[in-house]
């Protein structure tokens, strides 16, 4: 039954239906409503059996999650921004140990200067930590991806981040249909851990590995990630069967017929992009939209197939790699290696800067004329930059 819910509430209630046995998180804006919601569900007994562990930091939150998951408990946490960075060391441990933890990242910028608003700098900074990264376009997809994330994580024994845009999605009220408890129970069976830490039968995990085997360990991790490219669409199809809603995919495509220009993006900006290309289509300009739902592992073959007929590709980046440009562009460029496709980067919406239809429209029309530089910052306030340079603040 559709409900009008805040994104965070929808995610909290959905995660609860996945029956995590341990939830451990440290509050940070804009993720806080999610773990607050879960803490209430645990306290009132509607999520049981489940232990909600209060900790003093994100490092501790993920460390507790690692310990819980290693004992065989289905484990969930959530964070954002500096919180994710504070987890960084433990992130690698979770993936290295093959622990199927599911974590929501309420995407937020990273300071300094401090900024609590949305972009993708946080999860992007941890793109190589061995976790899967799934990006939600709207709150319905955020809900659906969380349920699938538990299945994917437990089938592959890898941790999964479900990334949803902070505030834009976490704080948005919109219509969402939660999967029922029966549907989730049918779709996500009880967790059968591959191995467990048990005092009665002690084992060592994560022990020292030297040069003789470390490459092989990493090779296997890479292979597991590549297997996810098969597992994610299969589990997505099963999810669609159970719920009647689209399951998670590697990429999505919109308005691709006769589109010479295709814009590639991740997350909630896809909605605004689709409205923009509809307007452009009404004026006779066809622009396609390819959404990256699965960012890690990067679905290079699917991206290449989706973009095969595009003459020009605009990669809309919600993060920046200073001195390089866009991190997503590098992956798209790799996927299109050997093709003559023109690829440009547009960095947009950093630190909560609104991405509007008029700006996207002007940018896409420029892209159609081949007039975009290799790297463009959408709506860049040049006078502000000149003032900063004059006062030395830009140095």
């Amino acid at each position: 039954m559709p409900e009008q819910l805040e994104g965070s509430v929808a995610v909290a209630r959905t995660v609860a239906r996945c029956r995590p046995q341990v939830v451990c998180a440290y509050p940070i804006t804009p993720q806080t409503h999610i773990v607050e919601g879960l803490s209430v569900l645990v306290r009132e007994g509607s999520l049981a059996p489940c232990e909600f562990v209060n900790v003093e930091s994100e490092f501790a939150a993920l460390s507790v999650a690692i310990g819980a998951s290693a004992t065989g408990a289905r484990t969930y946490t959530a964070t954002a921004s500096q919180g994710l960075l504070y987890m960084a060391e433990a992130l690698y441990n979770a993936s290295g140990l093959g622990l199927p933890i599911v974590m929501t990242v309420a995407n937020r910028a990273i300071g300094a200067p401090i900024n609590i608003w949305n972009d993708h700098s946080d999860s992007m900074s941890q793109r190589d930590c061995g976790w899967l990264q799934l990006f939600a376009e709207d709150n319905q997809q955020a809900v659906d991806l969380h349920v699938q994330a538990f299945r994917i994580a437990e089938e592959l024994s890898v941790p999964v981040m479900v990334c949803m845009d902070g505030f834009v999605l976490t704080h948005a009220y919109e219509q969402v249909e939660l999967p029922t408890q029966e549907q989730v129970d049918a779709f996500v069976p009880l967790y059968q851990p591959r191995q467990v830490l048990d005092p009665q039968a002690p084992i060592t995990i994560g022990a020292m590995v030297g040069p003789e085997a470390f490459t092989e360990v990493r090779y296997l991790a890479h292979e597991t990630q590549l297997r996810a490219l098969e597992v994610i669409p299969r589990i997505g199809a099963e999810y669609a069967e159970v719920t009647g809603r689209p399951g998670g995919a590697l990429v999505s495509a919109y308005n691709m017929t006769d589109a010479d220009i295709v814009v590639v993006a991740m997350g909630s900006v896809l909605g605004t992009l689709k409205d923009t290309v509809d307007e452009l289509a009404a004026d006779g300009t066809q622009v396609g939209v390819v959404g990256i739902t699965t960012y890690r592992p990067f679905p290079a073959a699917a991206v290449r197939a989706a973009l095969a007929d595009a003459a020009r590709v605009v990669v809309l980046e919600r993060a920046i790699s200073p001195g390089v440009g866009g991190p997503l562009t590098a992956d798209v460029r790799g996927a299109l290696a050997g093709l003559s496709t023109e690829i440009v980067t547009v960095v947009a919406g950093l630190g909560g800067r609104a991405i509007t239809r008029p700006s996207l429209r002007a940018m896409l029309l420029e892209a159609g004329r081949g007039a975009l530089d290799l790297l463009t910052f959408l709506d860049l306030d040049l006078p502000q930059i000149q003032r900063a340079q004059l006062t030395g603040a830009g140095r």
Binding site: H171, Y173, V269, T272, E279, A354, P358
Partner: protein, 210 residues
Amino acid sequence: MPLALFAEGEADDGRSLMYEVRLHGRGGQGAVTAAELLSVAAFDGGGWAQAFPSFGSERTGAPVAAFCRMDDRPIRLREPVLNPNALLILDATLLHLDGVFAGLRPDGIVLINSARQPDELGLGDLTGRHPDVTVTTLDASAIARRHLGRPLPNGVMLGGFAALSDTVSIEGVLQALRERFRGSTGESNACAAQEAYDTVRLTREATVDA
């Protein structure tokens, strides 16, 4: 001082049924909650709705904007409301702030929390240039003080809005308030919103008669 930056000759974007509301208030007045409740009322009325806050400072007293879109189909757009059909201004001290009237549609409606009459608010520039804009005032703080014991104008303004627009019904607003604030708080909020609705309806009828 240019009071408004209007959306002149706005092209029909093919989604003309979408109705957009922008709420302006100060931190603590509940503008974000009001946007959320408006979306719940619109959803309960059978439509699609989306509410979200603006991305500015989060301090008590600082200017805050919140947004609500309503449509007869799913809403994908995530940009802030740039061309509102309606403006709900929860604090009259914001009236002369840059951007409050920005993008208002030429036939837009404006509801202002104020004890004064619209023509006493120095908005002659706005209404003179754009005769199809409707400005209505409602002493929402006073109504709230009577029913809630404190001047919290957000739910009251929604009652007033229901009288000005057929996008949500007063019943929908009352239900959303009662769901959000359980028990006597919800009841007081509903009574306040009902009084606002009745007051604005009387004001409108008087205006039409005149």
